[in-house]
């Protein structure tokens, strides 16, 4: 009950603040002039707020519980992505005055056609990224209210689409900044209390012990709503609805729906797709083979390091920086804020192994963050903290999904829906229709993708972004010989290689472990491929070569020299986006 109230409160506050912010921005002064007054700290909190999604809030801890400490490479890569953004993209892109990647591609390469191609890739990345947000919503609402999975998916999909369509959540820095602090508080407070409550780390050393996850001192009772295929890592006696049964070591069977009971100290059976690990195996961040093999780890680090700069909802935020140096200062602060947040999810992943081992049986390790508070403190305290975590998770879905939906709706209504009257009212109507229409496909995919881990889904979005927009941005900013044809060829090759590998990985079962790892995280191959194709085709393309001095000057000239784009000219770029 408390949790439902907390979720409703955070949803209401988000919508309310969004609508209020829009009115404020419209009546007082132009949104973009006002945004010049936003300090790097506010901007950094807003960027972090939009960035920390279900994958960070629920996914890291869930994947860590399931796979082991190999999941800790994720927050490292998620944060390092901003270092890449800082070193190569932040200041030039801000100076260039490009609002989206499609804008950048068109203006840098002087080709309207590349804009359409970039827009299609934006939709692909946003789609991959929206699905896990909706999955997280379905999961959270189910945990809190017992509602079926599809209720949460549909509810959040509808709320986000309506919110974006009604004009809320459009570049409202303060709402996103609020969401960052809300999420950090919601994940940090229970984590700190859990560590204190359990007597600090040394007391809990047993969790890293040499055993497999076991039922606690009181045994373990799990309600299964549907039959579940499991593997018993050790011979175990158990009961189903009171009827005793036994399973031998290594036995695979399907548990029927009903109440499953395990005696105290029994080794917990694991759901299909999870490997039972001893504490020692679980604690290893890399292993010579399997899901945390070095190939996979490097591919994941590369995808997150290079993919962050290609996320459509993040680059938009850099436009609210007053100038290039401010964009750099903002990025440094983002690194600090993300580091603060990422200090906490691993507490849940580690403690979940001991306190909620039933998630190994049900396979829903993604809900460990939501379950842990009530498992640690049965009673009102646990319920309150559980409500806080659920509200924080909702803040994560709402802010990321809204930011993505704005990108999707903007891309559909502005880049793809051409022709007809360009009147402001008509464009606004198109934006609304695009927001409502654009949510349908991700919702449908989220309903199908229930069995996939949130972090894995988000990993694909990063792989796709790293294989397409990363080469486009890096070469476009730093290499003057990039041509439109080269960029287009590279975008297509990178996108096809990344998505092809991902879907092949879904279709193929039981291949060689290294091949499987590469198919699930293809960046280590698809990113170099995209770079190579872009460079090779650009060099071979003699007709498309034109001098790019004016573009390079706009990208790199420091402010205050009267070179490049000065604020007056930028109003032209900004005006287009204000519809």
């Amino acid at each position: 009950m408390i949790a439902i109230a907390a979720i409703l409160a955070v949803t209401g506050a988000t919508i309310g603040l969004g609508l209020y912010g829009v009115r404020l921005a419209r009546t007082t002064s132009d949104l973009f002039v006002a945004s010049r007054a936003i300090t790097p700290w506010w901007n950094a909190a807003a960027i972090s707020g939009e960035y920390l999604s279900a994958a960070s809030f629920l996914g890291i801890a869930g994947l860590q519980m399931k796979l082991g400490s190999g999941a800790l490479w994720l927050p490292l890569g998620f944060t390092a992505g901003y270092l890449a953004l800082l070193l190569f993209v932040a200041a030039p892109l801000r100076r260039f005055g490009a609002y989206t990647i499609s804008d950048f591609a068109e203006a840098r390469l002087r080709s309207p056609r590349i804009r359409v191609l970039a827009a299609v890739v934006v939709l692909g990345i946003a789609g991959f990224y929206l699905v896990p947000q909706l999955k997280g919503a379905g999961l959270t609402l189910g945990e809190v209210t017992g509602a079926p999975y599809w209720v949460g998916v549909l509810a959040v999909g509808a709320v986000v689409a309506l919110n974006v369509a009604s004009g809320g959540m459009r570049g409202i820095t303060y709402v996103q900044a609020f969401q960052y602090w809300m999420k950090t508080f919601a994940i940090a407070l229970p984590a700190c209390l859990l560590l204190l409550h359990l007597g600090g780390l040394p007391e809990r050393a047993a969790m890293f012990g040499h055993e497999l996850p076991t039922a606690g001192d009181a045994g373990l009772t799990v309600e299964l709503a549907a039959p579940q295929s499991v593997t018993f890592p050790a011979a175990t006696a158990y009961s189903v609805d009171g009827a005793p049964a036994r399973a031998a070591e290594g036995e695979e069977l399907t548990l029927p729906a009903g109440e499953i009971r395990l005696p105290p100290g029994a080794v917990v059976p694991v759901a299909e797709g999870i490997e039972a690990q001893t504490g020692e195996e679980w604690a290893r961040p890399v292993e010579s083979s399997g899901p945390t093999s070095p190939v996979f780890v490097y591919s994941l680090l590369l995808a997150t390091f290079l993919g962050t700069m290609g996320l459509p909802h993040i680059l938009v935020r850099f436009y609210t920086n007053p100038d290039g140096p401010a964009a750099r200062r903002t990025t440094v602060r983002v690194l600090g804020l993300l580091a603060m947040f990422y200090a906490f999810p691993l507490v849940y992943g580690a403690l979940g192994r001991v306190l909620v081992p039933e998630l190994y049986l049900t396979g829903e390790t993604d809900s460990v963050v939501l379950r842990l508070p009530e498992a640690a403190w049965p009673g009102l305290g646990g319920e309150l903290l559980g409500a806080l975590v659920a509200a924080g998770a909702f803040a994560a879905f709402m802010s990321t999904a809204s930011g993505l939906m704005v990108s999707v709706a903007g891309t559909i209504s502005f880049d793809l829906w051409r022709g007809g009257p360009a009147h402001v009212d008509a464009r606004r109507r198109r934006f609304r229709l695009a927001a409502l229409g654009g949510v349908v496909a991700p919702v449908a995919l989220a309903l199908v993708a229930r069995g996939l881990d949130i972090s894995v889904l988000v990993g694909w979005a990063f792989a796709l972004a790293a294989s397409t927009f990363c080469p486009l941005l890096l070469l476009g900013i730093w290499w003057e010989r990039l041509t439109a044809r080269g960029a287009a060829a590279g975008l297509v090759c990178g996108a096809v290689a990344a998505t092809g590998a991902i879907f092949a990985g879904l279709a193929i079962e039981g291949g060689h472990p290294t091949v499987n790892a590469l198919l699930t995280q293809p960046a280590v191959i698809s990113v170099p491929l995209a770079f190579a194709v872009m460079v090779a085709v650009s060099l071979a393309d003699r007709t498309g070569r034109r001098t790019a001095d004016a573009q390079l000057l706009a990208l790199h000239a420091p402010e205050g020299l009267g070179l490049g784009l000065e604020p007056d000219q930028e109003e032209v770029v900004g005006a287009r986006m204000r519809t």
């Binding site: 400490s69 800790l72 490479w73 490292l76 944060t79 390092a80 901003y82 270092l83 890449a84 800082l86 070193l87 190569f88 200041a91 600090g200 780390l201 040394p202 007391e203 809990r204 050393a205 047993a206 890293f208 020692e280 604690a283 290893r284 961040p285 890399v286 292993e287 010579s288 070095p294 780890v297 490097y298 680090l301 140096p325 750099r328 200062r329 990025t331 440094v332 690194l335 600090g336 993300l338 580091a339 990422y342 200090a343 691993l346 580690a350 730093w478 001095d549 004016a550 390079l552 000057l553 790199h556 000239a557 420091p558 205050g560 020299l561 009267g562 070179l563």
Partner: protein, 104 residues
Amino acid sequence: MRRTPRDELAEATEHGGLYLRRLIRSQLGLSTVALVAFGGIIGALPLALLLLPGLQDVYLLGVPASIFVIAWPPFPLFIAIAMLYVRRAAALEESFRDLVEPRD
């Protein structure tokens, strides 16, 4: 009237192009140095943990040391590299400004 480098840049003359490319090359060089520093440390981490399994057997506060190594220390390192980079990048731009518009 004497033409300043600023005019050359604004009019996109051949000289202006040289100034611009020099700026871009110096900025790219700085970013690459920062990238190599970062990549050398973080990139070596997975291999180091794999090749030195001893590190995975050391326990700190009851927790395997390898977890501590990847969970917290890299983050301050990112921030340190970022801050150094921002300072150097601003200095490069300052010297470009002096070159283009000499204050006499």
